[in-house]
């Protein structure tokens, strides 16, 4: 066994051979990590969702490059006037992929929809416990308290009855966790005694068929010619798993891959200057903020919270922390989202006025506070520690002594959710482009409980009524009005220092055409081509 290794080592060390077999239209994407498996229902990471996107479809989907919902496996849908019943009319003649284990005998139909959702909530479903049986997003999006029943009306019609009207439900159905798997494949695997393979060798209806996953190395897909929508332009798609961003960039420069994810902010200028590369960018659907815990003194006083907002120089932070790739935030939702209230005027950077406000609140000499900084880099905050240091210096100017505190990430989240901090940095990236997906989890009263995601622990009835009512209305225009009012309330009460919406970058070879960046931060190659 050693002989070929020795021989080839010798070849390797002596010859310095470059390999470059040309293949027809294969795009290599340098991705940042390994997928946990091939089932988006049981995972929560963007990396795993990206790896599943070529394979699976949902009933509805986000139009490429936008957060608008468009038909996918459902051709159309009806919503009753009370907003509680959604009837989906399914697309006919949608073909399933095939693999060594499975050749489909029928196209996609309502049984697959019932199976895929049933798997997530029905404990009697034989697949409920397969691959760990933990459907986090299903729970996180509050499906158990929202969905009353899901029924098959006929082979191509499925009815979802909700317990209460919920306008964001349609956008929820476009999210990754709502992927549709093949019931026929599931039955075949069950019969063969290998149910777990459903999440390892996926069968879907998407533009690319899964070929093989070599752990921690590559995921290979090939174009699915039976796809129901516009056919993919690439013959094959390869995800080359490359964890280090410096190495991803090196591979991109050497044309070992043509697209890469998540560049180091410090590398952006040299990428822009490289004549072989293009750098796409898009404002991210995210927010980085400093939460002011209103249940703790002195942040129970709105004057103090406003003073904090006026004391922090956002522009300086955007230059130093985001390398300029960020936009100062004045609302919780980003400006690209519908319902954004552009009439709101941000707090000016005014340390003198901030000092006056503190004096009026009874703190003429300032006070001491903690200032928590996350230990990790996130899309909405590339360097929380640095941000905290800049804020600390700004606050010192108005007499506020801030002590920077940090914990290991899991611990940080837990303690902050429990409300142990006075002020703390965190942020959010949207899931489905609906304002509800920002306001309810980050600032709603339900999330202000200990352990909830409302880190300011701020519960304002006026605000909460507005966002809860907005969730029940069918008209987007009506909803937008309520969200705009809610933003006025939030600005007045200032429970957060809203720092910035970051810009997300995607470096790629100039040979790549047709790539559209998604505001949701996912990576799709449906209509990408190579010149």
């Amino acid at each position: 066994m050693k002989t070929p290794i020795v021989a080839a080592c010798a070849v390797a060390l002596a010859a310095l051979v470059g390999a470059g077999a040309a293949q027809a239209k294969t795009l290599v994407y340098c991705s940042e990590g390994s997928p946990e498996n091939f089932n988006p229902m049981i995972n929560t990471t963007g990396t795993t969702f990206d790896a599943n996107k070529p394979v699976y479809n949902q009933l509805v989907q986000f139009r490429l490059g936008t957060t608008e919902v468009e038909p996918a496996l459902a051709e159309s849908w009806d919503i009753t006037e009370d907003g509680k019943v959604f009837v989906f009319h399914l697309r006919k003649n949608v073909q399933w992929h095939s693999n060594k284990l499975f050749k489909p005998t029928r196209p996609f139909n309502a049984d697959d929809v019932i199976f895929s959702f049933g798997r997530q909530y029905d404990e009697a479903n034989p697949y409920h416990k397969v691959s760990g049986g933990d459907y986090e997003y299903w729970g996180d999006m509050e499906m158990p308290s929202l969905i009353d029943k899901i029924e098959k009306l006929d082979d191509y019609t499925v009815k979802f009855t909700l317990k209460k009207p919920n306008a964001p439900f349609l956008a929820d159905m476009a999210m990754d966790f709502a992927a549709i798997q093949s019931k026929e494949y599931a039955d075949a695997l069950l019969k063969a005694g290998k149910p777990e393979l459903i999440d390892q060798q996926p069968i879907g209806t998407g533009p690319f068929e899964f070929v093989v996953y070599q752990k921690d190395t590559t995921i290979r897909y090939r174009r699915f010619d039976g796809f129901w929508g516009p056919k993919a332009k690439l013959d094959a798609l390869v995800f080359a798993i490359t964890k280090d961003p410096a190495v991803r960039l090196a591979k991109l420069r050497a044309n070992e891959c043509q697209v890469m994810s998540y560049p180091n902010p410090a590398d952006l200028p040299s990428i822009k200057a490289d004549p072989k590369l293009q750098l796409l960018s898009q404002p991210g659907l995210n927010i980085g903020y400093l939460a002011l815990n209103v249940t703790k003194k002195p942040f129970d006083d709105v004057r103090v919270r406003r003073a904090m907002n006026m004391a922090i120089d956002k522009k300086a932070i955007i230059t130093a922390v985001y390398q300029g790739a960020g936009q100062a935030a004045k609302n919780l939702i980003p400006p690209t989202m519908w319902g954004y209230n552009d009439a709101i005027e941000d707090f000016p950077y005014d340390p003198a006025e901030a000092k006056n406000l503190l004096a009026a609140a009874g703190y003429p000499n300032g006070f001491e506070t903690d200032l928590w900084a996350m230990p990790v880099q996130r899309p909405y905050n590339p360097d929380a520690r640095r941000m905290a240091e800049l804020m600390q210096a700004d606050l010192a100017k108005i007499g506020v002594k801030a002590k920077i505190v940090s914990y290991e990430w899991g611990e940080y989240r837990k303690r902050m959710a429990a409300g142990e901090d006075q002020t703390g940095l965190l942020g959010w990236t949207g899931d489905n482009g609906d304002p509800d997906n920002f306001f309810v989890p980050l600032a709603g009263c339900a999330a202000a409980r200990p352990g909830g995601g409302n880190e300011a622990k701020w519960c304002n009835k006026e605000f909460d009524d507005l966002i809860n009512k907005a969730a029940t209305l069918p008209s987007q225009a009506e909803r937008a009005k309520l969200y705009q009012q809610a933003q006025v309330v939030m600005h007045r009460e200032a429970p957060f220092v809203l720092v910035a919406h970051s810009v997300v970058f995607m470096p790629m070879s100039k040979a790549v055409v047709g790539y559209k960046m998604s505001p949701l931060g996912d990576h799709r190659f449906d209509q990408v081509d190579l010149q």
């Binding site: 070849v11 470059g20 070599q214 490359t242 591979k251």
Partner: protein, 334 residues
Amino acid sequence: MLRFLLRRVTLILPTFVGVTLLSFLLIHLVPGDPIEVRTGERGITPERLAVMRHAMGLDRPLWQQFLGYESQVLHGDLGTSIITQQPVWHEFTALFPATIELSVCAILFAIAVGVPLGVIAAVRRGSAFDYGLMGLSVTGASMPIFWWGLMMILVFSVALGWTPVSGRISDAFYVEPWSGFMLIDAWFSDDRGAVASAASHLILPTIVLGTIPLATIARMTRSSMLEVLGEDYIRTARAKGLGSLRVVVVHALRNALIPVVTVIGLQVGTLLGGAILTETIFSWPGIGHWLVESIQRRDYPVLQGGTLLVASLVMLVNLGVDLAYGVLNPRIRR
């Protein structure tokens, strides 16, 4: 000999328990558990956290968890990854050949370059070559692998374009995994280009991983050679009128290699440790890469099982070296 073997094997048992205990304790001492690490900004309700911790058995006292784990391991079950839901043993066997392939190439490289360099340095003791080599070997042994790897990539892959940046084979090739050793699998595939591609992908990681063992081997060979070259029988050999090459290679080197063999055996631990960093830099899908990931994800079963397997391997190799040494040198059997 049998007694010696028994004594050495008995010593392995406490080491084995020690390793399981240590790997278990260390990962449990790190704050954050697998569930909390995964929740991110969304958070998790205390009720749901309790349910999930119970389902994973994380709510039991630590000593119970340890005894449960120990008994599971003794029954030959290393558990299932919390993240991928795959048996730890399957993941290990799928990834281990990549690490072996890299380590074998690295050690062969280190021997092939280190031994001749050490010999030349010893023969030309005090020369500029000797000083230069010894200086370089100190640098080599103390080189941070991460920096060294990135430097090699920047120079040879990005600036000069001679070698691929990372991975085991160009993405243009798909080689059906049969042995798990990319070179062998590529060799038996019909595509000749695949072998060249796999070989070219090995160059930089081999050099980076082989640098520290190379420096150690070169120094060891030099000092061992110096000792042997001063022996009476070498003088006798020279006096008999043997050619200087023959004296050095046949008479001196053969004897000087005994301690070098031991050092090479001891390098296995260094190699596996270095492989963790090298694999991370070069996206080399071996166990180093896998273990680092399992720490970040607090994937307890993978981390414990993986550490145990790697430690067992190091123990086995050391045992093998000890036994071989026992055969070569009967004095230490007592």
